[in-house]
């Protein structure tokens, strides 16, 4: 009797466990995995990709960027240009004509007031708005009627497509966020957890740092075209990249997994299961070796401090021949192929996108013999027989620092070996990413302080316009004690031609003319060997199920930029 009962109980447990396996799916649902969970749905309060992407499903800017770096209209009727009068002749203002048929998800109409409000919201003096930098130089944002808005800048802006463009600065609804100005910004958790948007979905439930569920926005502008195709989105966070990839590629529990920074070999073997595929998107992210323009030696009183009169140069890296030889010794192809796999390509340029910006003037094939010859010719030889060359009485020993990360340490090892072959000794150092990028002015180990001869990290640009990225290296913007080590010119670069070209760029409109200047700027940096570009890294790498259609991964905007087009394929 007892045995029978136990058996029955076991049977019951098993039947309950497996009985529910075949559940009817009448709702079309898409499951997205982000291994960093979203904490807030307001991109003005958080700069994390996880938060921007989660809010991009609901909130929309006037226009966003397509994967090829071109503009894609969302809430405006046309792209403002000089020709159609949208951009003023003096380049100081841009006028957007808004669509008059857009409704917020609560049914109220979207107007120019909402755009103006969004600017006021972010630029309020007490706000602490994360995207504040996007509005720098904006004097006013004015509504010129219900459906027209003009943004005025304090100086000519040849590239005015920054405010309200891309998912990092979408439009907020004035009616909802009106009370949340300034210091109240953080107190509005109800609004920040469920913003009303114009996008394809509406927040149904938000659990901070865990999961967001969305349902279809019935008032979406393309609802009559059947968009969005899904009824429900589950945006689940937590875990790690590897298990997220597994859930899409192997178990098929999720449809999309974000940012899979895992070993290419592991990813390949998961992809072989045949449930889905891995895609990468390229924006502007370059793994670069940065060369210190100042003297970082520990006994120097002005360690890595840039001086206006150029009086604190690096003892041997000031010599261009040495920098050139260091660059020639590196085989970027091996680094890209062996260490980055599908997530990176070898490059000789600092600027690699959009296509029109890419310089054709640089080559960077490895040439160790040539590098040795170059140094010998310049008289930079090893005179004391210790295997290390000397320059000006200094042994050429470089300290090479980067953040702690397996791929970076492998890159370091390869480069150390190559530099050894040209008589340069390298001491490797790696620093915890939190400290290295942390920017704590009290720490000696930040990338800004640069207490090292060379360092390596990736820099990039969030928008396809390269002006702000290139402006980082303007003379005089070096991190120094008097600016609390916050400057952007990490390499302490100072070049009159470069600055002149930057000035020209800031007053030139028109994509073609700008591209020519950008190429010139790139060539100065690369041909002066002020930095050594190594790998053009994909800025996004995600996996999606074979049954998911419409995915078009984007390196210039949120990966969720076209979620309204995602649909289920018949398998």
């Amino acid at each position: 009797m007892r045995v029978k009962l136990t058996l029955l109980a076991v049977l019951f447990i098993f039947s309950t466990l497996f009985g529910g396996a075949a559940m009817a799916q009448d709702m079309q649902e898409v499951t997205i995995l982000y291994w960093q969970a979203s904490s807030i749905l307001n991109p003005y309060l958080s700069g994390g990709t996880k938060d921007i992407d989660a809010s991009a499903i609901v909130l929309e800017p006037l226009a966003n960027w397509s994967p090829d770096g071109s503009l894609n209209l969302l809430l405006a009727t046309e792209i403002p240009t000089l020709e159609n009068g949208g951009i003023s002749e003096d380049l100081t203002s841009i006028t957007w004509n808004l669509r008059d048929d857009i409704l917020w998800s609560d049914g109220s109409p979207f107007t120019a007031d909402d755009v103006v409000f969004t600017w006021e919201y972010c630029t309020h003096p007490e706000a602490g708005c994360v995207q504040g930098d996007e509005f720098v130089g904006v004097v006013s944002v004015e509504a010129m009627g219900m459906h027209q808005v003009t943004v005025t800048f304090d100086a000519p802006k040849p590239n005015p497509f920054r405010p309200f463009v891309s998912h990092i600065q979408p439009i907020l609804q004035k009616a909802q966020f009106g009370e949340c100005l300034g210091a109240e910004m953080s107190a509005c958790s109800e609004q920040n957890f469920a913003p009303i948007g114009t996008g394809p979905f509406v927040v149904e439930d938000f659990r901070p740092n865990d999961v967001v569920t969305y349902v279809r926005n019935e008032n979406y502008r393309d609802a009559d075209m059947g968009k969005p195709h899904f009824d429900r989105v589950v945006f689940k966070g937590g875990g790690d990249a590897e298990s997220a990839a597994r859930a899409v590629l192997e178990t098929g529990e999720a449809d999309y997994a974000w940012n899979l920074q895992i070993s290419p070999a592991v990813l390949d073997s998961m992809e072989a299961a045949g449930n889905g595929q891995v895609v990468v998107a390229y924006g502007q992210a370059i793994e670069t070796i940065w060369i210190n323009g100042t003297d970082p030696s520990p006994d120097s009183p002005n360690r890595s401090v840039w001086m206006e009169d150029g009086s604190n140069p690096h003892p041997f890296l000031k010599n261009m021949t040495i920098r050139q030889a260091m660059s020639m010794a590196i085989d970027t192809n091996i680094i890209a192929e062996q260490l980055y796999g599908r997530s990176g390509r070898a490059t000789c340029n600092f600027i690699n996108s959009p296509a029109s910006n890419v310089s054709m003037n640089n080559t960077c094939d490895q040439d160790i013999a040539g590098a040795n010859a170059l140094l010998d010719e310049a008289g930079i030889v090893d005179s004391n027989g210790d295997g290390i060359r000397e320059y000006d009485g200094h042994e050429i020993r470089v300290q090479y620092q980067t953040s702690t990360n397996a791929v970076r340490q492998n890159t370091q090892a390869l480069i150390k070996q190559w530099w050894g072959q040209i008589g340069i000794e390298t001491e490797l150092r790696n620093i915890d990413a939190g400290v290295f990028f942390g920017g704590d002015p009290a720490s000696p180990d930040t990338y800004q302080k640069f207490f090292s001869d060379v360092e390596m990290y990736t820099t990039g640009s969030a928008s396809p316009d390269m002006e702000s990225l290139l402006s980082n290296n303007r003379c005089g913007q070096a991190p120094r004690p008097d600016n609390n080590w916050t400057g952007s010119n990490i390499i302490r670069f100072c070049n009159a031609d470069y600055d002149a070209a930057l000035d020209e760029l800031s007053s030139t409109a028109g994509a073609e003319a700008r591209a020519a200047i950008i190429i010139r700027l790139n060539d100065i940096l690369v041909q002066e060997y002020a930095l050594i570009p190594l790998v053009y890294r994909s800025s996004a790498s995600s996996a999606y199920a074979n049954s998911l259609g419409g995915v078009d991964i984007n390196g210039w905007d949120s990966e969720m930029w076209n979620i309204e087009d995602w649909h289920r394929l018949d398998m």
Binding site: L17, G20, S189, N192, K236, D240, G439, T459
Partner: protein, 337 residues
Amino acid sequence: MGKYIVRRLLTAIPTILVISFIIFAILELSPSDPTGNLPLTIPPEVRAKIREALGADDPFVVKYVKWLNQFFIAEPLNFIETVTNITFPGSEERTRVISWATRGPVIDIIAERLPQTLWVVGSSYILGVLIAIPVGIYSAYRQYSIFDQVGTFLMMVGFSVPTFFTGLMFIIIFSVNLKWFPSVYDTTLVVTDIETLQLQLRQMIMPVTVLTLYTTAQMSRYTRASTLENLQQDFIRTARSKGLTERVVVSRHVVRNSLIPVVTLIALGIPGIFAGALITEQIFRVNGIGQYLIIAIQGGDLPTVQTVTFIFAVLVVLFNIVADVLYGILDPRVTYT
């Protein structure tokens, strides 16, 4: 006994205050920065403004007193208000403990997460104890039998293999290859009928098993050791020589006495349930208290880390008292005055 409890509770108050201060000081001294995880493209001026808006650069004492006020005055009042619907004066001005990452009240998130932590970690704890005690007793009673040998081996495995390994192994076997159980825990699932109960059981089975293995291993070792000790006592020999049956000897005399230290151990382990199982929650995406704490630490979210760690500290102090009191009740030799 009542006097003893009151005294212990009263002495706990300064202890708790000191703990809260120490936690706060450690966090303050650590180099974490709430804007540290922002993209590199965000300039330092903007970062400084964000820190200012958060109050992250306020002096230590200001921050600490603010937190004390929020945690010990504002939060309890707010709780009473929501439960009873009575509004106290000054309700508008009171600020609750607000997370720097989510800009929402920390306590609400903890409350939201408690169910999944209790479901998964709590049930594994109960299950672990239920398995461990009989296994431990039987192993000791039949010391060096095959059951004991196999049990000891399995328990050693459970004790020494980390949960991140067993968890991963379970996922690969049961999710990837057999496709029996989901590897992603759905925290939005609400159990309303048989079907959702099935789903809930299916998604709980792997994390619970992983944790149970660990708890069982730990508890059964203690039970076994304690039982072995008692089996050799004189009063057991006396009981046997009185002619009592083995059943009575074991259940009345051995087990009862052996469980005294085990019960204490169980009570001391309870705060651990609330703290969640950091690693297991991460592996299966259970997203309970443990995962919340980890994210907060990574993000330099000081109010959250402070509050969660502090609640944990309070539970440890409280359950220490509970364990001591239980000890007194179970063991007549121990008296408190």
